[in-house]
Every structure is written in structure tokens, then in C-alpha cells.
Symmetry: C2
Subunit: 230 residues, 2 copies
DNA sequence: CGATCGTTTGATTACGTTCAATCGTTGTGG
DNA sequence: CCACAACGATTGAACGTAATCAAACGATCG
């Protein structure tokens, strides 16, 4: 495994809290693998046998409703782990997962991971940290959907894609707009129109490239008052 | 503490998985307390110092947005614990909590709880189970908001209030309709109107009392295909 | 009895969806 | 290499759901 991969792994909330040695023991046996775009990793309702670390690419987590609708809960990227909460209790996956770009993932076996945790209480604390992190994300997501308009949700997504907090910025949309729309809880048509509205706030979109005149202006628009981030 | 209280505590996902003795050790020092309606328990952003067990009454968890809007994330009832995920890492509460009816709560100190967990790995697993449970709840909540209409969300709430799965049923709404509306992601006016629409599906509402002609009919309406519940 | 709070009702508006058509890009097979 | 399908993205028009604004109603409590 590439040393750069270790950097990524240690940057996750899950593994960041533990010693490098410990992390290596946990994932040591598993090897990164390349996945094409559109590969199904697991399905909702299936027994949870493994969780994943994203080394590269993007993976969507979604639910399929009884009437066939797809609801995207999250799209994970480099440096994020997913499905780790599900492998506890030998439970089942509450949602499905699929790569949305060609990706490189590290698949960690749940059974061995679980037994290692039982040996080392400290690991459980790391898992709890990770679970809290996910919990917080979902809580914020609900707030987003409930109180923000479509243009605000997009603006929020955009500003989260860059580290710039003032002045101009350029970002690349990491995946298709249809998926982005779903992730943001709207239809592709609405995304398109909402994006237009943001032009009045200094946002121009050319294919997958988004140019922002002044990030701060956008931050104001989404009321990015996340003073409770940490 | 009343023996009935122990029944309640042991019925929680958090404490149910552990031996009674262990549970008693964990909460032994804390005593139940009565709270009036409308009492603030903690505020979002404040250091997480304790979590709670609901012995009686209802407690809402909500977030206040920068522009003063209130978003209710969950309303907890007897036999549920809340804020336990937040006390880890000595972090902060991601949301605020307030009683919405007169309540009896058991407040458990986070610091001591945390240190006990580090002594006993088994407890950590219980916590993880609980966290997974919350995670699943939020995931379902997001799906609810995204794909269900207002009447469907209400119908879903109603059928979850009873154990009856067919034939007639009568339930009492446990708290004000305004709060219920917020919890379901809508305005009080919309709740009122949506409730009217449900009359066509055999639901009549008289003050806080809801009468259902045939629960199954409602289940069909909400597409209650929760085959993944366990 | 009057005030207040929660709930309902009505009219209007706004936002996003739906349905439908078009355009552009990509990629493939002749 | 080009033509043509296939797909994603955009645009337009009509529709629907819930929000908003406003008023009236009802119950509860001092």
C-alpha cells in the first residue's frame, strides 16, 4: 500500500484517533482495490460483512423506496469511511452503496474488525467518535433539507468544496449533476434552475466547472454560521 | 428509585444489552428528577456533560438556525435515552433539548460514565449499538422528508403510535400539534389540513384523540414496507 | 369574564415537481 | 471518420403541494 494511502487512512475520523500501529494492525490484511464506475458494493438489507475506506473516487450511499425511488443519503469521498456503523452487532446495511466514479477503496472485513475491537476497548472509543461524526452529519443534513431553499443547499455544497473563505474561487463538480441533485434533495431540473439563480450571487457554471466571484458573498447567502463546527 | 424505573432503563437500547448489575453501577449515583414543561436541559454548542434517560414525559431535541428558526429533530419518550452520543470525546451538544410535557428524567454524568466505559469494553459495544440505532433513525427520517408527502408522514407517525396492525385503533397525540408539525417537517396549518385529508382514509381527529377505522389501510398508504426493521 | 395560546379555516403566493421538448456531448458502429 | 444513437443537461409551460399571511375559533387559566 502506498504511503500516501496511510495519510488518507489516518485522516479519517475513525482511524485518526488511534495510533498508527493500531490502525495498521486493523487494516493490514486488506488491500486497496480499483472499482469501475457504477459498481454495487452492497445492498440495503444485506448482512453487513465489511466497511470501506475511500482512497480515491466517490461512492454514493442511497436507499431504494418501495415504489422504486432512489434517495441519496450521502456521497463519500477520499478520506471518508462508510458503513462502519453497520458492521456492529452483525447487523444489516440500512442502505445501499455504489461507486459513482472510478474509485480506489479499501475493504475492511467486519468480523475480524469486530473481534479486534473487543480485544481493545480504545478502538471502541474511536468507533464511537466516528459514529458521533456521522450522527452530526445526518443531523445537519436534516436541518438543511428542512429550512434551506434549493439555491441555498447548492451554495452550501459549493462552498464546502473549497477551502477558500473569501474572494474568488474555482471548483470542479466531482460527479454528475443528476446525482448532486438527488444528494441535495431535488430534481435535476431544479438543480439547473437553482444554479441559474446563483448567477446573481456571482456564481457561473460551465459544464462541471463552477466559478465563484466572492466566496464570502455565498457564505452570507447560506448563513454559514457554523460556529458549532468543533 | 422505583423498580418500575429499572424496567424502563433496561428497556432502552443502551442499557438493555448489559447486565442489570452493570447498569445499576453506571447510573447508581444519579437520581430521577421531575421537570416542568418547557424546561431547557442543554443548549446546542454547550459542552456535553451529561446524557438523559426519559422515565416519563416527552423531550424535544431541536436546533436553532442563525435566523431564529427552530427545527425539531426528534421527540424522545419513555424508555429512550438522548445525548449519549454527544458526551463522548468531551464534545459539544449538536442540538438543544427541552421538556415539552412535565417529565421525569434521569440525568447521567458524562465524565463518570465515560471513565466506566473505558474500564469495560462491553459497555462500549452497548454504546455503539445505541449509536447505530440513532443513525438508522436519522437515515429513515431523511428518507421520510424527501419522498413522503405531508399526509403520509402524519399517517406514518400515527401508525407508529400503536401496536395494532389491522382493524380499528385509537391513539392519543402525546404533545401539541405545533410541535408534531415541526417534528414532521411542516407548519401547524399544514398539519391541520393534512389531517383533514386523512379523513378519507378512515382517520378522525377530535382534539388530541385520533381514531383509525382500519390501521392496515393506513399502512398501505404510507407504504409501510419496513421489511428492514430488524 | 377576558386574555392568551393552540388550532383551524380561508385566500394567496412561492417553490419545486412534472411533463415535454430541445440541445449538447460522448461514444459507438457502420 | 462520420452518422447516429444514448445520455446528461437545459429550457419551457403547467401543475401541485405546502408556506405564508390573515382571520376566526375554541379551550384553558387567571
Amino acid at each position: 500500500m502506498d504511503p500516501a494511502d496511510w495519510e488518507i487512512i489516518k485522516s479519517t475520523p475513525l482511524f485518526g484517533a488511534m495510533a498508527s500501529q493500531t490502525a495498521e494492525q486493523l487494516v493490514g490484511s486488506s488491500l486497496p482495490r480499483f472499482y469501475d464506475k457504477g459498481v454495487a458494493l452492497f445492498h440495503q438489507g444485506a448482512p453487513a460483512t465489511a466497511f470501506f475506506i475511500v482512497l480515491d473516487g466517490w461512492v454514493k450511499i442511497y436507499r431504494t423506496t418501495p415504489d422504486g425511488l432512489e434517495v441519496v443519503l450521502h456521497v463519500f469521498r477520499q478520506g471518508e469511511t462508510f458503513a462502519e456503523a453497520a458492521i456492529f452487532l452483525g447487523g444489516r446495511y440500512p442502505a445501499s452503496a455504489e461507486t459513482v466514479t472510478p474509485s480506489r477503496l479499501l475493504k475492511v472485513d467486519g468480523e475480524t474488525f469486530r473481534s479486534r475491537i473487543e480485544e481493545r476497548p480504545v478502538l471502541a472509543m474511536s468507533m464511537l467518535a466516528s459514529a458521533s461524526y456521522q450522527l452530526k452529519f445526518l443531523v445537519e443534513q436534516i436541518e438543511q433539507i428542512k429550512v434551506r431553499s434549493a439555491p441555498q443547499r447548492i451554495a452550501d455544497f459549493i462552498v464546502r468544496m473549497t477551502r477558500v473563505r473569501q474572494g474568488p474561487a474555482v471548483i470542479e463538480l466531482p460527479f454528475e449533476k443528476g446525482l448532486l441533485a438527488n444528494r441535495l434533495g431535488m430534481k435535476p431540473e431544479s438543480l439547473s434552475r437553482a444554479l441559474q439563480q446563483l448567477r446573481a450571487r456571482g456564481v457561473s457554471v460551465e459544464r462541471g466547472t463552477v466559478k465563484i466571484v466572492d466566496v464570502r458573498q455565498l457564505l452570507d447567502f447560506v448563513e454559514y454560521a457554523n460556529e458549532d463546527d468543533e
